[in-house]
Symmetry: C2
Subunit: 206 residues, 2 copies
Amino acid sequence: MKITVEKAVLSKNDELAAALRERFRKLGLKAINIVSSPGSGKTAWLQRTMEILPESAALVGDLETDRDAQRLQESGRPVRQIRTAGMCHLEADMIARSLEGWDLKGVRWLFLENVGNLVCPVGFDLGEELRVVMLSTPEGEDKPLKYPPAFAWAEVVLISKMDLQVPVFFNVEQAVRNIRSVNPSAKIVFTSAFTGQGLREWLELL
Amino acid sequence: MKITVEKAVLSKNDELAAALRERFRKLGLKAINIVSSPGSGKTAWLQRTMEILPESAALVGDLETDRDAQRLQESGRPVRQIRTAGMCHLEADMIARSLEGWDLKGVRWLFLENVGNLVCPVGFDLGEELRVVMLSTPEGEDKPLKYPPAFAWAEVVLISKMDLQVPVFFNVEQAVRNIRSVNPSAKIVFTSAFTGQGLREWLELL
């Protein structure tokens, strides 16, 4: 019974996501779904990105608080918060509702910062054109092996907090091997919101 | 309909957890449920702990792989792995099944290392006597505000990777204020599996 209900929820989500995708396409807007553990540095990285991209906007999912939205608003770009109230991921209908009354004309990149969670968000299409997973160096090289659905799902893997590579003994070669073992084709970008490493490569990719 | 199903799942879990709790009590065993984000350092901390505690054992939950169980087995203590196969948390029936045929005589501390997830595990009682949440310094001081259910649920908050406090600009006072705002009574212990900071305080607490 539980499985049936979940399947129904997922297929309803897929319908809504398809409608969102069509809407984004008509607007000439690229939606980017970003997933990671809590504290991997999604918000810091989006702050750096949005400061450089005037035609960007963001929707930010969190269980509670609007801290991340506030941080992103410092970039001067349009930002809206979604409080998921206990839900561990964003869903397409939350995106659709949050877009109501929002004039997205002129926006070319809409970042969808998912709830900090490496497990739950992956099943839920948000109408995005690009799927990004972030792995921070302090989390360790083994995370792609331990959370393969998220890493297999992504088209881009951002390795964040590269400025901490030395103090946390992060092994880049091992990390790449682990990512490749679950996802042979994803683009891997080494980044640091602190030093700006990887920003140019990331922007070219967008 | 979805809510009803979830309630039924939760109340079934509570029954099983009550039975586990009774079983642990009769065995004179203290079960400790540990929750955190992926990569906060649960396994490294349990490695240090179990090396010192001969009468300890562990059950380790992961989506995939038995890497954490392998790491803990280096301590020489009994360890079993639970692969949750996509489930984002441990449940009481997984614990009960994993205990089958396991002679726990002489074990005084059974560590239940939950799946790396700050959202999902909190609703599921595993028959534990002590609830622990871990927050690593690179994740940032704001996580208690963003994931209040996990931090309100815990009786002990372990702040891990204190050796990285300086390179990640972790503000201890702010972190404590944030924890206190959602949980006025939890015991807070500052730890580092790398330097051994906090081990004595943690062992006294156990």
